[in-house]
């Protein structure tokens, strides 16, 4: 028997209560306003089946959901609810925001196009009018894309660099029994979300790097993605080098058990099950951080308007892998 569940939804969360972003010139603290709608549209599909062939019984379930999220009708002048600053390191700039037409908490920054390999590349990096776009850059620095072609890299060149919300999330589970044995496997994953990874305090030149820095640019052709080491944070203003693909599939539970009651044949024992489980057995992911499964948003923000953020990995303790052995006895 196959059970199919299909849902299609269009969920509109209206009139979010947010402190209005207020111009400093108003001279007061911000009032609360009803701000913006969050639209979630998607489909959910779940399939499950169970059956048996003689002693062998099984159950398989697969579910997946496809979700698109966007914000609309933000009632501020610029249509944006600005994210917090000082999140990635001291004095870091705004890098996530909620804006009409974009996913909630999308990442906003400069797009890069590799590194300058030599000073000729710096002087050849010009806009249509021949103006040098990054005249002060040195070989090994990031090359930022001048989106509007004005020859200056500034806020006008910042674009949507990614969405912390997955497009697709799915799970599978499988269990079966054969005579005294039982096996359970469960896993889940997400696809199409981005994570901002920041493990280093870029405002402090003495803070530790991750081992990634060993592959940095240190001469022409040595790297096209990890900039040279400087004692300031010139290459670590928010750009797509922070943004990583957060897709993963995690085998979350594998359990194997055997019921010895069948062997012992003692009348007073109805069950004597010994089992072993591994929780968080393995994660398939390209994400380079410690754990792609981060629920993090800026929860600590004083400003409740900042609590819509997610997908910001500042180096949290990863999920542990757990080995369990157990005994079930029933009389």
């Amino acid at each position: 028997m196959l059970i199919v569940t299909f849902d299609w939804y269009n969920k509109q969360t209206k009139d979010w209560l947010i402190p209005a972003p207020i111009y400093a010139t108003a001279g007061t603290d911000a009032p609360f306003i009803n701000g913006g709608d969050v639209i979630n549209k998607g489909v959910e599909l779940a399939l499950s089946t169970r059956g048996n062939r003689g002693d062998f019984q099984y159950q398989i379930g697969v579910n997946g959901s496809y979700n698109k999220n966007h914000v609309q009708n933000v009632p501020t002048d610029d249509g944006i609810i600005h994210g917090a600053t000082n999140i990635l390191y001291a004095n870091s700039e705004e890098f996530y925001r909620a804006e009409s037409g974009h996913a909630i908490g999308y990442f906003w920054g400069w797009q890069t196009n590799g590194l300058f390999q030599n000073s000729a590349e710096v002087s050849q990096y010009v806009n249509a009018d021949g103006k040098k776009i990054q005249p002060n850059a040195k070989p090994g620095d990031l090359k930022y894309v001048d989106q509007n072609g004005d020859g200056i890299i500034n806020d006008q060149d910042k674009v949507d660099l990614g969405d912390p919300n997955p497009d697709f999330s799915y799970g599978i589970n499988f269990s079966c029994n054969w005579r005294g044995f039982n096996v359970l496997v469960a896993g889940y994953g997400v696809q199409g979300n981005e994570i901002v990874q920041s493990y280093r305090d870029q405002s402090n030149k003495y803070s530790n790097y991750t081992t990634d820095i060993l592959d940095r640019w240190h001469g022409e052709g040595t790297s096209n993605s990890i900039p040279r080491v400087t004692d300031n944070n010139i290459n670590y203003k928010f750009s797509d080098i922070y943004v990583k693909d957060g897709s993963f599939f995690r085998i979350n539970n594998v359990t194997l058990g055997y019921d010895f009651a069948r062997l012992v044949q003692a009348g007073f024992l109805s069950k004597l099950r010994i089992y072993a489980s591994v929780l968080n057995l393995y994660t398939f992911t390209k994400y380079s951080g410690m754990d792609p499964e981060i629920g993090y948003g800026n929860e600590s923000a004083n400003d409740p308007s900042d609590r819509y953020s997610s997908g910001i990995d500042l180096g949290y303790y990863p999920s542990p892998r757990t080995f369990l052995f157990g005994l079930n006895v029933k009389f």
Binding site: Y23, G27, A90, N91, N136, D155, S203, N232, Y236, K237
Partner: protein
Amino acid sequence: MKSIRYILFFLTAIVLSSCGKDFLDTEDLTNKNEGNYYSTPEEAQTALTGCYDALQLIYDDGVATPVASDVMSDMCFGGTGAADGDGYPMMDEFNMNVSPGDVNLFEGNWKQFYKGIFRCNSLLINLDKVEWGDKADQKPIIEAEARFLRAYFYFDMVRMWEKVPLLTEPSAENIPQSEPDDIYSVVAEDLLFAVENASKSPYSQIAASGYGHATKWAAEGMLARVFLFYTGYYGKDDLVGMVTKEQALGFVEDIITNGGFDLVPNYADLWPAAAQYEAAKNGKPIYDNTYAGETNQEVVFSIKYTYTSDYNGNTDGNQWLVMNGLRKQSWIPNGYGSGWGANTVVPEVYQNWDASDTRRDASIMAISEESINYEQINDVKEYTGYFTKKYIPLCDTAGNSTAVELGGVNFMIGQYQDYFVIRFADVLLMAAELGSANALTYLNKVRERAKAEPVGGVTKDVIFEERRLEFAFEGIRYYDLLRYDNTLQYAASKVSYSGTVLTGGAQYTKTIDGSYLKLTRGLCQIPNNQITLSGGVLVQNTGW
């Protein structure tokens, strides 16, 4: 039966017709708000206190103007901690590339100034709502003080950023920047009103409760300062057609003749740390010093601070002074408390300063010359062997922070030393600069107090040099540099520097290229967050 129905109909009609809009508006009986406030003279006075509270706020966030302007001057480097960001060196060198991530260094300042302006504007537009009764004579005084404070805020802002949004009444709109002349017109108009209407009591007759209030003398001194800056920086002859040079001179001469102020006889007595240093040098305990106090006869206008700041939103103290001072160490013999090591002094400033001039030792903390056993050199950025001494934290003979001993929360937010905005010495030197007949007398009076040799003649350069020494590290020098000539040639050549300092204990060649001062015209960076928020209505200053 029918008649009852008619009666009911008419009653309903009467009730409904009385339901005008006013019927639904009620007065809040338990809370003060804009609707029911500003009704009595006492409430107006309280609102004015709120404006003075903002005077304590403006330097508590971002980089306080007195600290920033000393960093930008030719007498100090940025300093701070070796591991700190390069925001202070960036200010010092006027070069965005020194710390490209610091795009909101002055956002705190920007917000706090507008808080203060909002408070002043709110009080000023509501003054006519107050039922003054027999206290009508208070109205012009309150108005004068609120307008003085508004002028103070705008003058600080227009010098830091030049074009800023100009509001003379509260507004929540997205307001574009105004031209400097429009801002100076408001500043001049406000100060002229304050000269006419603020308290005219001479120094000796100011009641204890009156210290810190803006007086006629404070307004006159500010006007002369605004006149000198505006005419110098923009190369003009008068202050936006509202104040001539003769009038400006008249204002400062009026303070000298009628204000009742005078110099404190011993220069070191103006500064608590310098007074302690002098006591220690004379073999006395540091508490047995001759500090003249915060309400002495030389203070024409000051920002009053106290130690009661807390982390619950009460800002009453001098929250910027802790940036200066010995980084992370106290020096008990002279009572210097621990600070953050900003504004390391350019070594040549000390070395070229005549040792017989008492202002040198009162202004500069010299590590080796004072035999200070300083153990945190490796933690300092741009260490030169010299720190400032005028506005620094203090400690007692047991090494405890005096701020904490008084009851402050900690040494960081508990600092309490008043900021002397205008000293009588400044009034004398401004009068000399504005062409007083007594120019030489005034100048030599200032020099005599400092035990410096009298000079024979008054020139612009002599006055500027005198101001440099007299007002070192008081947030004044930088704006003197900018106003010397409107090409900024003088300022650019003075700030240019190349020499060796120690950062993190390692030698580092500190270079300041004056052409960056010319490029930025000596102005500060407008906070990027505010530009973003305005959707590009605000425009960044050149070079930032």
